[in-house]
Amino acid sequence: MSLRDTQRGFSAGVLSDDVAAIRARIRPGRFGAERHLQIYRNNVYASLTDALAAIYPVVARLVGDDCFRGCGHQYVRQAPPTSGNLHDFGERFADFLASFEPVRTLAYLPDVANLEWQWHRAFHAADAPALALDILAKVAPEQYAALHFRLHPSAQLVASEFPLLRIWQANQPNADTDDVVDLSEGGVQLLIARRDIRVEIEALGGGEYALLRAFARGQSFADAVVAANAAQAQFDLTASLRQRVLDQTIVGFNSN
């Protein structure tokens, strides 16, 4: 048996319980071949489910440990990692939860998973120096319309029809367990961004969400302002811009 066949057979035996190719290649040792292989299967599934649990602690708390292990196991079978960099693993977990029958009735669960994935991305995103307000002050007013503002690499914008921030807060390790979230409280538009090394989640008004989303999509300042004003009457553009430069959500701009 070639090394390639051994590795393919081993992988099938671990990931898909298909031991046909590998069983006869394992030397009967202390135990039969299958139990030796089972040790690897346990290790692989446990380590990958642990990796998911580290990224998705709120989902795990919402569905309970046993159910989460079940979801994790099925996800590993369907979408095993595609690199040795575990930071990339779990990207499609929200989509998976949306279609996984045992949790399909929890309509808010994929949105919670998406929020946690964006949190994970923000945690590991690149650092960026702050933009000094006086640099912005030097731009001639007639050039504002054409500016393209750049968000911090960690900044993510997430919208949900569920009270996502309340769900997230009520399921933090130190949260009050009596806190009940009413799912009909209404939706939210959130900014997830790292302030120094801490990831923070903040609920935004409609105007600011539209403004930052337009920046994130590379739209010009003029187009972003149109979007923000359309989303929210009496949107305070000056205050918003100033705050987002100061808190380093906005870290730069290009004038082309």
Binding site: Q7, S11, R30, A33, I39, N85, D127
Partner: protein, 287 residues
């Protein structure tokens, strides 16, 4: 990091180091414990920024560092993962580690990664393959790699070469060094019924640049037991004994205390490191 800092802190002494984990970052920075060096899992720093790099930069400024990989999948028949190698290379450039290591194992095939250190059949084919791969990785990184002997829970029918001979041949062919994990030798020797001491005695002393120590778990079945390399407890007495024999044979070497699951307070790890330092110190006096 200044050139000066790099210069002073880029060699690792023959003393105990500890695996650095996120839960201990702040305590390490605030208390600066008397640990000779730290080792991190390279892949934990494959992100672009944020807290992991914030802390590692600051800790690196005060201590020598070793980068220990778990995801290079050196034994795989897939092509070497260039993205992974490039990330590792950037990490090496940024942190100037004294040692860079990975494992005698594979973790991926056909692009699917199992995130585990999987066993290789010890055959001529596998030897030629992994020697080439280590060579390729060393060329790309522009430095020598240390390769760690694995804990294994099964053996392949086609394995024709004892693991320690396989390791020796690998060192000779690829010019890599050995990261001798004494706990892994003990675990595999117990699981497969070979003589751990003889394994250690067969290791060429000049090739060993680092030693690992960790705790394992005895998994009990109705009809017997098997040892699992869980890194979730103190080093057991039998492994300390084997470690003492190891440094009698090899001489003193940088020795890492590894602990990954159910991480205890830093003080427990410092206690384990002191124990290793005590044994190393006895050999200094004797020598």
């Amino acid at each position: 990091m200044t050139e000066d800092t790099k210069g002073k802190r880029n060699t690792i002494p023959a003393a105990a180091g500890i695996g650095l984990r996120a839960n201990h970052y702040r305590e390490v920075l605030e208390t600066r414990p008397p640990v000779a060096w730290w080792e991190v899992h390279s892949e934990n720093y494959f992100g672009d920024g944020g807290a992991p790099h914030h802390y590692l930069e600051r800790i690196r400024a005060h201590y020598p560092l070793s980068l220990h990989g778990v995801g290079l999948s050196l034994g795989s028949v897939d092509p070497l993962n260039r993205t992974h190698l490039e990330k590792l290379k950037r990490l090496i450039e940024r942190y100037q580690p004294a040692l860079v290591s990975d494992h005698l194992s594979w973790s991926s095939v056909d692009g699917r990664y199992l995130n585990d250190l999987l066993p290789l059949p010890y055959t001529e084919e596998a030897l030629a393959h992994i020697a080439r791969r280590i060579d390729e990785a060393q060329d790309f990184l522009g430095r020598q790699l240390l390769i760690e002997n694995p804990s294994t829970y099964l053996e392949f029918v086609e394995s024709a070469i004892p693991e320690v001979e396989f390791m020796c041949a690998l060192i000779e062919r690829s010019g890599c060094a050995l990261l001798l994990d004494v706990n892994n030798v003990y675990v595999s020797a117990t699981n497969h019924g070979f003589d751990a001491r003889q394994y250690i005695q067969s290791v060429p002393a000049s090739a060993v640049q680092e030693i690992h120590l960790a705790g394992h778990t005895v998994k009990q079945y109705d009809d017997g037991a098997i040892l699992i390399d869980t890194h979730d407890s103190v080093v057991c007495d039998a492994v300390w004994q084997l470690y003492a024999q190891t440094i009698d044979h090899l001489g003193r070497r940088p020795t890492l205390i590894e602990w990954d699951a159910q991480l205890p307070p830093l003080s427990v790890l410092l206690g384990e490191a002191r124990k290793a330092d005590g044994l190393l110190e006895e050999r200094r006096v004797a020598a």
